[in-house]
């Protein structure tokens, strides 16, 4: 045990245990629906077993003891010595919560004050109180063999961990080792492998045969057929000697039929013969097996499992580092492009003296440079995308966690709640998923507590008794859109109106003038909660403001729409990744700004006479719509003054009166970038369009602080810093 460093194993242990706890929650929820769900029982048993095993290694005895008894409990359930009742279910849920807390503390502080002993005693008592005495001794050590475990174990599920009994009916296992190329003394290694394997199982034959080993040169692979009932992992470990590049462990059956799941060959004993039309073998080996035959059922389930992608756990700091390097590469490439362009122009200018052969030669070199840069671009784009992809994970697991949240909320609130999930394959940056968890939980709680009505009230309103909360994710251009909606009573604007007056946020007169839209926006106000009663979970009036802040911290935006009596929908819009943005580079005054492409509707040129005045403010007509025309000078101040390079930078009239009058100053055409934040569209005056570019977002907070109106900075090809406009905020600032 002293061989490895436990501290290094800790992150893996915690990650794995988190996954198991999430999986257990899922299994228990399914058991709550169907207490006889054999697959869920099996999964729960296996996961408790895994946690137990891992906790022993880490020396967490309390966890070990608790999971040991839980494992015993599920062994009783699994083997039908016990019926799963509500008390068992509740007890297990409590255990999961406690285990989760315990491990969360462990992750945060390296230890946990949570005492597991009381729960352990409870579970132990439950196990002992079982109708039939549990065979604890039998199950304490080994994972359950998936009895007769017939043959149809697909090779294509390499990462699914069940302790595969990889032998066929005759118990024959083929172990093939592939040696590293040009391995010296490969025949000696082969003998060593054979020796080690024979310590565990009887050797039936080898290929090449042992006596011919030294004749085969080079010896690249060695196959041993064993009569064994050992687990694949064990054999694999035995065969793993130095110089072995690859180990394959197969049952004889698998080697005969490499893709059993595609070939509807009814296996004797696995599926009913084709005489019964109910169990006609077809492409899907689905639930053909009756529940009375647990073994085939397990096998069928196994082969139905979708292929699990092989994964690797990587410290996210390492990925961040790679990400930064990829970003640097993109910047360096942009720099090369700029240099090549400069050279090209230089030589174009010297065309008059083209009789000089050296100039011609240099031109060729410049051309070659441009081609090389093009190649570099392809590689850096690919690398960047590849690194980016490593950070992208589906949102599904995050959504799945809400099944448990909804269940608990539905119990505690006495409301019937269904959860609908959509778009779970939508991928976004891992860090974003981590940060989204809390805001989403708050929104879902809000939907159940404040949105959904009690069953009786729903029935009275002609709605189904059970309310529905929907979590939906989708890609939209460069963004991910996540919606949290409910079919509850909607936001009562009149109540908000009363509330803001009674809290003194707005005077009664002006409050009467506010539109529904204005009123709904008050839900983001700190200290305003529309719930009639304060519940344990939400309703303290803190939260929605924090939700908004959290999402804005992720460079996202959140919006709410509500129809009284029909429900409320929160829409969260997030960039696909925090790190890289497609943007339009523009020059405004003397600076280069990046405008995120997903906020740009179009780019137009306007003449001064096309600018209208609406209540003294400039506006232009874009596709029959009047939109406000603004310049950065209207929203920003530089050191408390207009920008020195702006038209009113030299002690002119105040920007209030003239900054927006910008277009009047010039008789030539002006460029306007039409931008929107999903609700409001404005025209932003720019001095020059530079071009589109992927920019690597660098946070301003890292060395400075956040600045409203900017989402960050980025480094350009010429090495200078450009600022990235945060249009959601800029548009807000214009409205003010």
């Amino acid at each position: 045990m002293s061989g490895f460093n436990l501290a290094e194993l800790m992150p893996f242990y915690l990650d794995e245990t988190d996954e198991h706890i999430a999986g257990l929650n899922d299994a228990l929820l399914r058991l709550e629906q169907d207490p006889a769900d054999a697959r869920a029982l099996q999964e729960a048993f296996r996961m408790f077993h895994s946690i137990k095993g891992a906790s022993v290694v880490m020396g967490f005895d309390p966890v070990n003891r608790l999971t040991h008894h839980l494992e015993s409990l599920f062994e009783q359930l699994r083997s039908k010595k016990r019926q799963l009742g509500r008390p068992d279910l509740e007890l297990t849920f409590r255990c999961l919560d406690t285990l989760r807390d315990f491990h969360r503390d462990l992750r945060a502080h390296g230890q946990s004050p949570t005492d597991l002993s009381a729960l352990t005693a409870e579970v132990e008592a439950a196990v002992r109180g079982a109708p039939a005495p549990p065979a604890t001794a039998a199950i304490a050590t080994e994972p359950p063999p998936i009895v007769p475990a017939p043959v149809s174990v697909p090779i294509s599920a390499p990462a699914s961990p069940p302790p595969a009994a990889c032998f066929d009916e005759s118990g024959r296992v083929t172990v093939t080792v592939v040696f590293e190329s040009n391995l010296p003394l490969a025949d000696m290694k082969a003998r060593l492998v054979l020796n080690r394997l024979s310590s565990r199982a009887r050797v039936i034959s080898t290929d090449p045969p042992v006596e011919k080993l030294d004749e085969v040169d080079p010896l690249s692979r060695f196959t041993v057929v064993l009569a064994a009932d050992a687990a694949a992992d064990e054999l694999r470990a035995l065969a793993d000697v130095e110089g072995v590049a690859e180990i394959r462990v197969q049952s004889a059956e698998q080697s005969r039929a490499p893709k059993p799941e595609l070939e509807p060959q009814p296996e004797p004993g696995a599926v009913e013969p084709a005489t019964s039309d109910a169990a006609a073998p077809d492409e899907s080996p689905a639930p053909a097996a009756a529940p009375e035959a647990p073994a085939p059922a397990a096998a069928a389930h196994h082969s139905r499992k979708p292929r699990v992608a092989e994964t690797i756990r990587v410290d996210s700091d390492r990925l961040d580092h790679l990400m930064n390097l990829a970003g640097e590469l993109v910047i360096t490439r942009a720099r090369f492009v700029a240099i090549a362009r400069g050279l090209e122009e230089l030589f174009r200018g010297s065309g008059a003296q083209a009789e000089l052969p050296r100039v011609r030669e240099a031109r060729e070199q410049v051309k070659a440079l441009a081609e090389a840069i093009h190649g570099l671009g392809r590689v850096s784009d690919g690398l960047q995308k590849g690194v980016l992809d490593t950070r992208m994970v589906p949102i599904g697991p995050l959504f799945e966690r809400f099944r448990r949240v909804i269940r608990d909320l539905s119990v505690s609130s006495g409301k019937e709640v269904n959860l609908k999930i959509g778009g779970e394959k939508t991928e976004l940056d891992k860090r974003m998923i981590d940060e989204l968890s809390d805001p989403l939980i708050h929104m879902v709680r809000n939907a159940v507590d404040h949105g959904l009505e009690p069953p009786a009230e729903r029935e009275a309103a002609g709605k189904p008794r059970g309310g529905t909360v929907t979590l939906q994710a989708s890609h939209r251009g460069n963004s991910v859109v996540i919606t949290v909606s409910d079919d509850g009573r909607g936001i009562d604007c009149e109540r908000i109106r009363k509330k803001i007056v009674s809290k003194g946020l707005v005077d009664e007169g002006p409050a009467r003038e506010l539109s529904d839209r204005d009123l709904v926006a008050y839900i983001w106000h700190p200290g305003l909660s529309t719930a009639e009663t304060i519940t344990e979970i939400s309703g303290r009036g803190v939260g929605m403001d924090i939700v908004k802040a959290r999402i804005e911290n992720l460079s996202g935006a959140v919006d709410v729409r509500s129809v009284l009596g029909q429900g409320t929908t929160f829409t969260i819009r997030l960039p696909l990744t925090l790190a890289i943005m497609s943007s339009l580079l523009v020059r405004i005054y003397d600076e280069t700004y990046a405008i995120p492409l997903d906020h740009i509707d179009e780019i137009v040129e306007i003449r001064p006479e096309q600018v209208y005045r609406v209540q003294g403010r400039p506006a232009i007509e874009i596709r029959k719509r009047i939109v406000a025309l603004t310049s950065l000078g209207d929203v920003f101040r530089w050191g408390g003054r207009p920008h020195p390079a702006s038209p009113n930078g030299h002690a002119g009239p105040t920007p209030e009166t003239n900054g927006a009058g910008h277009p009047d100053d010039s008789h030539s055409k002006r460029i306007v970038v039409v931008v929107q934040n999903g609700e409001t569209t404005i025209g932003l005056l720019v001095d020059e369009l530079i071009g589109m570019q992927e920019v690597v977002l660098k946070s301003l907070e890292k060395n400075f602080r956040s600045i409203s109106g900017l989402s960050g900075a980025s480094i350009l090809g010429n090495g200078r810093v450009s600022l990235i406009l945060d249009l959601d905020t800029v548009i807000d600032m214009v409205g003010r």
Binding site: W638, K702, N703, S708
Partner: protein, 168 residues
């Protein structure tokens, strides 16, 4: 690195009375003909002036942002910070890059003079309001030949709302 660095203080942070080592190393620089110094332990590097991207919504002593080998760092103009008259950038102008509160910040100074070693007992506590610099940003004064050296406490200098997170 520097002569006699074996005896150099190993303490981090600004020189404060009460630190163990009797000798501290300082980097001297000039602002409006006055001599200033910062503890060498806080200085990451000293670079030439480079193009600065102007930032909106910040006080005027924040010049803007520069790219320091892939990091985006803010640049503070110490003249403006201390209310001294402005001065054109010239060959002597430098940016002193310091590490403060887990951040990297550049300070524009007129010129960097020298690295010096000073005995702690040579440092006098700052008198109340004798100079442009508010006394809370000083960790002390020291007499150097016939000149007065103003030792800055950069932790306190950058420990103010205009440089803090979340006040945008």
């Amino acid at each position: 690195m520097f002569a006699g660095s074996r005896n150099a203080p190993t303490t981090e942070g600004a020189p404060r009375p009460g630190d163990a080592s009797p000798v501290i190393q300082l980097v001297g620089f000039r602002l409006d003909n006055e001599d200033y110094a910062i503890a060498i332990t806080r200085i990451q590097e000293i670079i030439l002036m480079k193009p600065i991207t102007r930032l909106p919504q910040v006080p005027d002593f924040i010049e803007g942002l520069i790219n320091l080998r892939g990091s985006v760092i803010p640049i503070v103009n110490l003249r403006k910070r201390f209310g001294l008259p402005a001065r054109e950038v010239d060959d002597e102008t430098r940016i002193i890059v310091v590490n403060v509160h887990d951040r990297t910040v550049g300070c524009v100074v007129d010129a960097v003079t020298q690295v010096m070693r000073i005995n702690r007992d040579q440092i006098q506590p700052p008198p109340l309001s004798v100079m442009a610099v508010a006394h809370q940003y000083l960790s002390g004064l020291a007499r150097l030949d016939d000149r007065l050296l103003i030792i800055l406490d950069i932790d306190r200098l950058f420990d103010e709302p205009s440089l803090a997170v979340g006040t945008g």
